[in-house]
């Protein structure tokens, strides 16, 4: 059906209008945080507030790194996130492979339990986890925190990787086995390299999740020097006043790694969400 050019453009206007509107809606709160962080503290609390910073200043960032241990918080978060991701990938990949390729007793029970655990409100776990980890001596321990995060990350990761492995044709593995490879070798040399995109997506999810989490971290970490970056950001919120300049600067620092991940790895993230979501 042919439409006249002008009418076509006109009909596209509301679409572009909507997209621009939503774009603004999405970006403005983030912009506001960035803008505030670069304002000197006198301008932050000026009334009426300024849309664009009149003076650009790094004083908030300096304050944030000297007055608190934000740098250490970043390092702690990195450690926790990397360990969580590595551990989760390992556990979930093995299990997902098993669910995809093998048939064994208790398989459906386990699978449905894993999916079922996904439904538990995370709120339920705070106190029992604290008690359990105290018994296990895993409090005040970044590795312990990574272990705690497994319970929150594994169901989704197993689900995702299972979907992904299903997309890898069995024939390739069978061919290798005919050529004399053992099951383990097949997994190691053939399936895993093919699964790298799926693993990458799963890794990104696990990393972002651990980086962002704060409730369990708040419960299990009792020492200042172990605080993750989200917990350090919370330090800027005092009972009687909030230093918005410094808080926003700390928030920007907390956002940066996730933004970097998005910029470089958004292909994986999006394809993982788009691809994985269709198989239910």
């Amino acid at each position: 059906m042919k439409k006249k050019r002008s009418i076509y453009w006109l009909s596209q206007l509301p679409i572009y209008g909507f997209l621009i509107g939503y774009l603004l809606f999405t970006v403005v709160p983030i912009y506001w945080v960035f803008a505030t962080s670069f304002k000197p503290s006198t301008e932050v609390m000026s009334f009426p507030p300024t849309l664009l910073p009149h003076t650009l200043s790094l004083e908030n960032y300096v304050a944030v790194f000297t007055q608190t241990h934000l740098g250490r918080g970043v390092v702690n978060s990195l450690i926790v996130s990397l360990v969580t991701t590595a551990l989760a990938l390992f556990i979930a990949a093995l299990a997902a492979y098993s669910f995809t390729r093998f048939r064994f007793r208790g398989k459906y029970f386990l699978l449905n339990t894993v999916l079922g655990l996904y439904l538990i409100p995370p709120l339920i776990g705070i106190i029992p986890l604290f008690l359990l980890f105290n018994k296990l001596g895993l409090l005040n321990n970044l590795f312990g925190l990574a272990l705690a995060y497994q319970s929150l990350v594994l169901p989704l990761l197993t689900f995702m990787l299972r979907n992904y492995f299903e997309g890898i044709p069995v024939e390739i593995e069978e061919a290798a086995m005919i050529d004399g490879c053992s099951q383990l070798e097949v997994l190691r040399r053939i399936t895993l390299p093919l699964a790298v995109p799926g693993l990458a997506t799963a890794a990104i999810f696990a990393f972002i999740f651990s980086w962002n989490e704060f409730v369990i971290a708040l419960t299990l970490l009792l020492r200042e020097d172990l605080k993750t970056v989200q917990l350090v950001i919370m330090e800027f919120v005092k009972l009687h006043r909030i230093e918005w300049g410094q808080l926003t600067a700390a928030m920007v620092v907390g956002m940066v790694p996730v933004l970097i991940v998005i910029i470089f790895a958004q292909r994986y993230l999006i394809s993982g969400l788009l691809g994985g979501a269709t198989k239910s």
Partner: protein
């Protein structure tokens, strides 16, 4: 029929073809178990234990004042108390507003964007990474960003309202506005997930259907009504139930932004449980609330299973 139903939840490509690759059955029959052992171990100790603990605690009147000495067993006493608790019903009320408001916004926006992206992949390539930003930010960052946006004197929203001559709004400190402020923030945060989910579902609609429709002379609206929407229904249903559950369980952003205030105006059920356990120290009662929440989730999950089952068969 039962087996079919279970399979519909967990299909395996290896099995559908009549069997997994030849396992050296006698030699390595234990291999699958070794592979799932770490998962089972971790999940049963770290996920199932809290569930069992909370169930046990919900049957006791456990509170800060009697933990070290042993709490009295009250059986279903906490649950009967909950049944008569007006604040609990208030929290369900608030949760209802929160969930329905969030879902309505998320779905409306998510669907529109998914449709647009589906039709215009070039635009989608650039906008998609930006649009998923809210979803990947932490609750702390989302919470404080929006507190700052909503600030009565210094926030951007009131700045804009004043600029056009309107009266600034109290947002998070107004007893009637606060919950809607939280709903807006939650829509902001949750739309990307729905958007991607629906876009994926759109991709799965066979192109031939559209071709046939256009050949028959259908316009865009008819296409949407008779092809797109019905084909999207299973995905929409699944997404709806997942998001409902997550929104109902959500408490991190609310904890950061209002802690259930002002005057319990944003006290969702999840926040109520948090308040009972951590402000009042009534762990037994809080555990009962948590388990009731779990039951509500379970009901929603049952709906999910039914829908998926139907979708798989259709």
């Amino acid at each position: 029929m039962q087996r079919e139903h279970r399979r519909s939840l967990a299909t395996s490509s290896g099995e559908a073809r009549g069997g997994p690759p030849p396992l050296r059955r006698r030699k390595f029959f234990w291999l699958p178990y070794v592979f799932v052992a770490p998962l089972a171990l971790v999940l049963f100790s770290i996920s199932v234990f809290p569930l069992l603990w909370e169930s046990w605690v919900s049957l006791q009147d456990l509170r800060t004042t009697n933990i070290l000495r042993g709490a009295p067993f009250v059986g279903l006493g906490n649950y009967t108390k909950l049944f008569h608790d007006p604040l609990f019903y208030h929290s369900l009320h608030i949760s209802l507003y929160f969930v329905i408001g969030s879902i309505f916004g998320q779905f409306l926006l998510g669907l529109i964007i998914a449709l647009i992206f589906h039709r215009m992949p070039g635009v989608a390539r650039w906008l998609r990474p930006v649009f998923i930003l809210p979803w990947i930010l932490s609750a702390i960052i989302v919470g404080y960003s929006w507190i700052w946006m909503y600030d009565y004197n210094f926030g951007l929203i009131n700045l804009a309202l004043r600029a056009v001559g309107l009266h600034p709004i109290k947002w998070l400190n107004d007893v009637s506005m606060a919950i809607w402020a939280l709903v807006i923030t939650n829509i902001w945060r949750g739309t990307p997930f729905t958007m991607l989910f629906l876009e994926a579902a759109l991709k799965n609609i066979p192109f031939e259907l559209y071709e046939a429709a256009y050949v028959d002379g259908a316009n865009s609206w008819q296409v949407f009504r008779h092809i797109t929407f019905p084909m999207l229904r299973p995905a929409v249903a699944i997404n709806l139930i997942l998001v409902t559950m997550w929104t109902f369980n959500l408490f991190d952003t609310i904890l950061v932004m209002t802690q259930g205030g002002p005057a319990d105006a944003t006290l969702t059920t999840a926040m109520y449980m948090y308040k009972i356990a951590f402000r009042y120290g009534l762990f037994g009662y809080g555990a009962a609330i948590a388990l009731v929440m779990l039951a509500i989730n379970g009901i929603m999950a049952l709906l999910y299973v039914r829908t998926v089952g139907k979708a798989a068969l259709s």
